[in-house]
Symmetry: D2
Subunit: 337 residues, 4 copies
């Protein structure tokens, strides 16, 4: 931690801070410049966490030197994390494709999708049973009935299944039926839910919040890991910007940034990022080329009548074309698929 003092800070202001730092067992290193003085704090800075140094007299600003996330930080865990979802491994040179409908609408819809995506080469089936919707008048999901169809689809096809959870109740139901939990973008900083997901024991897919910085996203993952659950997969799904040609703006740079800062796997969801069917395939390609560990793609037997996110869902035929195109690209960048 570095404390930057205001120009012409009084000596007594500097001395007050130095005494405080030393009284907590840390060392204060002072650099007096022509214009400003800076104080470097050496030692366990958490001993000062009860002090709001930025509003001490004559303090200009505080500069953090180390990240606040530790368990998700590559500096302390340089080896990449591999997350097992039944017999599928996310991370470590694999390219994993997750697909399925935004919302589970019926047994038939889900089973037909499960068979179709399996045939096209997907590894995990997704399906929403609890849907966070902007309007209370939109379809809110089949809840536990939907989870039962997920389990049946898994048993029929052998694909592991993932479902979004939006409350403690949903987690309690989901752990009985699915293999992986998803925390959606709108709940990325629902810290209560993160802790409960951490305690569930299941691997967790953590989507990035619409306006979350990468630093906040890794701190959110820290909530899950801190509950003793290291099996976290990050999912970039677009951030909110001023551009309206796409529903969100896919932050493709998040892939190399996460690879540099964290050991967690990262996948990309081009369906939610763009909101437009025609852009899903080129964005999926870009994600694989950038080094993503997987893709999450929405598919539906008949997108024209999908109850949620139809405009961005691929037909089975379009999904097949996408996996056909992704396969040689994965090989080119050294990923197993």
């Amino acid at each position: 931690m570095i404390i930057v003092m205001k120009p012409h800070a009084k000596n007594e202001s500097i001395e007050k801070i130095v005494r405080l730092i030393e009284s907590r067992g840390c060392d204060a290193h002072i650099s007096k410049g022509k214009e400003v003085t800076i104080i470097g704090v050496v030692g366990d800075k958490s001993r000062l966490s009860d002090q709001n140094l930025e509003i001490f007299e004559d303090v200009e600003k505080i500069v953090a030197v180390t990240e606040s996330y530790k368990l998700a930080n590559k500096k302390f865990h340089p080896e990449p994390t591999l997350v097992k979802v039944k017999d599928v491994t996310i991370g470590g040179g694999n390219l994993v494709i997750i697909s399925g409908p935004c919302a589970v609408e019926s047994r038939e819809q889900l089973l037909s999708t499960a068979h179709a995506i399996k045939k096209a080469g997907a590894h995990i089936l997704r399906g929403g049973a609890y849907k966070p919707r902007t309007s209370p008048y939109a379809f809110q999901g089949l809840e536990e009935e939907g989870l039962k169809y997920m389990k049946e689809a898994s048993e029929e096809t052998g694909l592991p299944v993932i479902c979004e959870v939006t409350s403690q109740n949903a987690i309690e139901a989901a752990v009985k039926y699915v293999d992986m939990l998803q925390i959606g973008a709108r709940n990325m900083q629902n810290f209560y839910l993160l802790k409960e997901a951490g305690k569930s024991g299941l691997p967790v897919l953590l989507k990035r919040g619409l306006s979350a910085t990468i630093d906040e996203w890794l701190n959110a993952s820290e909530y899950i890991i801190a509950e003793g659950n290291p099996n976290v997969v990050l999912c970039e799904r677009g951030i909110r910007t001023f551009e309206t040609a796409t529903r969100n703006t896919l932050d493709i740079s998040a892939v190399p940034v996460i690879k540099e800062k964290s050991h967690l796997p990262i996948i990309v969801d081009p369906s939610h990022a763009s909101g437009v069917r025609a852009y899903v395939k080129p964005l999926a390609m870009s994600a694989v080329a950038a080094g993503a560990d997987g893709l999450m793609i929405e598919t539906h037997p008949n997108p024209e009548v999908a109850l949620s996110d139809g405009p961005q869902s691929l037909t089975f035929e379009q999904f097949c074309e996408l996996t056909e195109a992704v396969r040689p690209l994965a090989a080119l960048v050294g990923k197993s698929i």
Copy 2:
């Protein structure tokens, strides 16, 4: 709803859509221009909500004509809503000041704050017992113990009290001790929590999400009202932008925009919006001048050692100065305080 067709849309594409609209009991009004054809849908468009018209063949885009929120919409409820919190009324020509610490830290801290803000003219005491924090290693709140101090402070001073809730458990505890629930920015689209808050029967302060549009914010309020709870107060607390000189960017325009679109009261929180103590007073003044129904201001007996949001908290003396400055301004803009 208006359907804009692509240039050179085939007649059969247009006819297919018209037949669908009519089969649902709506009327289709066609305007054929030189370049494009548009189809106006007249009637109850919810009968078409299972159809994703934007991906029908030859459709360019769909334009919504009416807002998706109804209960919060001024068009259907032109009279301003008054929200009673015990004997304090928010809305309708009153300027209500809510104040208190970001987090309840101890009985002494809370009681001394309650007395100080009452003396300075505040109407409601705030205090966080469940704290959503970016890092899991930051102080997370006293939980039910904190709520008990809130109740005691309320009994001692006569001030009604408000506390943020972050889970169903927190709501169940809070209803026993406080007079108003707060849904924080990070939970604005935690729809499960919104419904539970709606069912609680208590008035609800709904903060705007960091990247929520005003339209999404009003839709979130709709979740609460739809549970039979019309006592919703909106709180603008800054949105996320590229600017870093302030913690968030106070969207002051939200005040007149909400006044035009909704009948719900709106207050402003300059403490979270700016994150900087020195900016709280000028922003509070701007909010009152823009027509806000109230202010939420963080205060602390000793901000230098506050466990949460110290840098933006006012001392009691600074809070007094603020209320002194606000009083004549409220009178000038015709508000009772």
Copy 3:
């Protein structure tokens, strides 16, 4: 300047940097922490400006301690700047109202506006003769003919006049007719134009760019002042965010932030910030309450047929109402109007 090294930085990497710093006549203060080492640079850091230290081996990041703008910086010039535009003084306890049409459309339109705003109490007449328009098919301005009408309106009413300039040619023409130049938001980082405006000798109104940080804005003002022209007035006119209820998002916090960081006057343009006539008055009120030194308000004899920005222009009657409301507020916050 502070150099933060990576964890486990090699000693030779640190020594290489220290030697470089010392070879340039600066001092290096090293703080070795448990995790990371930081190096404080003391002395004239511009001597190191030819070195990209952030990509030196084992360097994590560089933290700037001082701002890059000097002439606009309050730290070095604590007294507020007063900008004279003929006999009108901007800054220093005055509230100055600038008004007029977005674009000069005709002699009659401009003269009638000039008389109307003068009667309502405005101090300076604005009018665009060179219009930067998103589409090449929109009205682009009357150019020099418009400037002549500006001069005539000034002579008739005694109001000083301001006009936006968009090129060196426009500056050369404008200096013959107007009393103050305006650099628009889209040209805030047209550094060539800033220098030319600086050389013109006229006072300059510098609008904030749509996505400019406050730091970049002050650096842009530095380009003008560095040409020997200290007469710069800043104008906040809304920034670009995700919100679409208003054309831009008025960053009202910019007022107290500029007051803290710079000695330059700052005015607010609620017309461009909102793009909606109904929001102009409440936002003007909020600006004055926040401490702005002035307002820029668009007016038009008949907004329904204005060639540019009609939807946000006030009628003369509406402008009168606004100045009536602003007057007692100015008195309340201690401003002369």
Copy 4:
């Protein structure tokens, strides 16, 4: 154009608008719904461009149906544009790599770079002689001297050369020495400069503004084409968002969006988009996979002492690695390189 009326709009308000539309030779198609009435305008809507219908009485909003750009619009020019820069063709199945230093610093620096990038397979040499810099105290470019080195480098290597221009003077100088002009992000809406670039006769690379929507970007290109110069290449270089892990946020979706809306070629600049050397290669890969027509990559003989943008510049060795990786990817997506 569609006019959406307010609920309960008066008949006379509707009739006034219909009469206006018809008086201009257009047709008005009225759809009366239960809540609102909409009016579709059929005919040449430019005949109404002098009327600000959005502020007519009882009007809720105006919805544009067609884009304001015509010459850059794929709807009217479905064939992809090929832009010739001497014997290099951008667009139409080619992947073109532009590389060189951010700023021309010396003859030696530029010539060594030209030879190195040619050897690595680049097609066009870039180099800045007029540098728009945030601070007036940063290096501003060698101006005409730099252009002379560009011409010499072109003659020595046979590579065409491109240089950014920031003023009419710079254009007048540049046309004597270079083969393509670049309009930088900060000047994307410097409409005066766009027109002058259009008149120059040289092909133009138009970078996207930091906060420009894709619609505004295409409108900016329209300014150039409208001067009779169809040789415009678009360059996505990152937009401004709240994320700070990268200098800007590469909007990779811009590639498929532009491909759908326009016939102009689009290239990607991962150097400016990220600002970090380590992210340039993965982002370059993602751009090619998404369908970009080219890349613009900053290189420097010694990035540690580059006078501009060193931290994002590649060494020659790193640039070689990048072109080696891009080559098979280009083949995979069907591009000639």
